[in-house]
């Protein structure tokens, strides 16, 4: 279980880390919490020549919220800090639902949301709720800065649109709008620690009693967190009633294209998507009702 050899840097500024990343080129990796990278390295699946630790950079370690601009989470904010943040608990409960199921206390004291996204596992719990709530990620290189919709971020297992010379510096979520609600539901063999067998994120917006907008993203049932467009379409323009929810859940299940593996079979995952979608749509609806102002 020994780690491969690498050189190590812990720059104090983003500028210095970008410069290093550019200088070192291929084989250089940035590390935030390191909880995924360390496992990959000890299993011989990742052999970095250089590791640049981002955790000594104060400007990346923050969580900011205000009711006008929304939420911004710096890339080295810990999962445990997200989980205990009063504004996130109040305004973004779907994100809390995801983070509280991720790994365990020790790992949440080290790991970060940005790391979970950049690791790009199809089962990444934080991806579906962030995607349905219209999250953007900030990618910075020594030459340019850009913002990318998280919906367009993932390309495949372990692959994203982030270039090798870019660092994810922040994740932003828009301010919560009136009559909107979101939820994340997941299932796995064990309640914590274990990777999700299936997960469903839902966000909806009501106009009086009509479902005006819907976003549904499925986790762990495709090579990337998958947007369920047919299920969304089944909700939009309708009222919340059991038949509508049942039909949308069935659509989500049909859109899922999971594999069978040690955690669950393809059929089980598809069935669970329907169950989780039904629950998540219902909870998102209840929350959108509760949020009037």
């Amino acid at each position: 279980m020994r780690l491969p050899r690498f050189e190590y840097f812990a720059p104090k500024t983003l500028e210095a880390s970008l410069e290093l990343l550019g200088q070192k080129g291929d084989g250089a990796f940035v590390m935030a919490g390191g909880t995924d990278m360390m496992v990959k390295m000890s299993h011989g699946r990742l052999k970095p020549r250089t590791i640049i630790n981002l955790k000594e950079i104060p400007e990346l370690h923050y969580i900011k919220f205000n009711p006008q601009n929304g939420l911004e989470i710096g890339s080295t904010a810990l999962l445990s800090e997200v989980l205990n943040h009063a504004d996130i608990i109040e305004h973004y409960p779907a994100l809390i639902q995801a983070v509280q199921t991720m790994a365990n206390i020790e790992v949440r004291n080290m790991a970060t949301l940005a790391g979970n996204l950049c690791n790009a596992a199809p089962s990444a719990d934080s991806a579906p709720p962030l995607m349905v709530m219209d999250a953007e990620v900030s990618l910075v290189s020594s030459r340019a800065k850009r913002k990318v919709k998280l919906m367009d971020f993932f390309l495949g297992p372990g692959a994203t649109v982030k270039n090798v010379d870019e660092i994810m510096t922040a994740i932003t979520l828009p301010a919560p709008r009136p009559q909107t609600g979101a939820s994340y539901m997941r299932i796995s063999a064990r309640c914590g620690v274990d990777i999700a067998a299936a997960g469903v994120g839902v966000a909806i917006r009501l106009e009086s009693e009509v479902l005006a907008e819907a976003r549904i993203v499925l986790g762990a049932v495709a090579p990337v967190p998958l947007r369920a467009v047919k299920a969304e379409a089944a909700l939009v323009g309708r009222q919340f009633d059991p038949e509508t929810v049942q039909y949308a859940a069935q659509m989500a299940s049909e859109e899922a294209s999971p594999i069978s593996d040690v955690r669950a079979t393809r059929d089980y995952r598809k069935s669970m998507v329907a169950v989780l979608a039904k629950r998540a749509i219902s909870e998102a609806y209840e929350r959108s009702h509760a949020r009037h102002s």
Binding site: A10, G34, N53, K55, N104, E106, N109
Partner: protein, 165 residues
């Protein structure tokens, strides 16, 4: 190239030259010879390697030793104020029979310490959640939950006495 780091472990200051690819677990066990901290899975799933870094429980197997430069670390050897007596958490583990083979014990005790530092009187459910990252292959979980509940009572007792005096 080795990196010079300065860490405080259980109140003692160490200046060490470490290879960047050494984990905190390796440095604690091999360089400092503090073998109370165990290495179980090496992937952050079992909790046997838990230590406290700057007040937070972390997996020492997933932590690079270079990355804790300047930080303060508590291992199971530092739980009790001296080598003679036991910490209330350790006493409770002994009294309730929460130790079977003992391999998970130090990690469980560090998790208990982290939990009780943040939540001095947890419910049974909160204790179970606090231990969710810890595996006991002997499966003696009930006694461990009982031990932590007992420890919470003992530590609150100590706290009250101190306030009274």
């Amino acid at each position: 190239m080795k990196h010079n780091i300065r860490i405080v472990v259980n109140g003692d200051e160490y200046c060490l030259a470490v290879d960047p690819w050494k984990t905190l677990n390796e440095v604690i066990r091999e360089d400092l010879n503090l073998t109370g901290t165990k290495l179980g899975c090496g992937t952050g799933d079992c909790g046997a390697c838990a230590v406290i870094v700057d007040g937070k429980a972390v997996s020492s197997c997933l932590t690079l030793a270079v990355s804790v430069d300047g930080k303060s670390i508590k291992t199971v050897e530092g739980l009790a104020p001296s080598g003679e007596e036991l910490h209330p958490i350790q006493e409770s583990f002994v009294e309730t029979g929460a130790i079977q083979c003992g391999f998970c014990t130090s990690g469980m005790e560090m998790a208990a310490f982290h939990l009780l530092s943040n939540n001095p009187s947890p419910t049974d459910l909160e204790i179970r959640k606090g231990l969710s990252g810890h595996l006991c292959r002997c499966t003696g979980y009930n006694q461990i939950v009982e031990a932590i509940s007992l420890a919470a009572n003992k530590m609150q007792g100590c706290h009250c006495k101190k306030e009274e005096s």
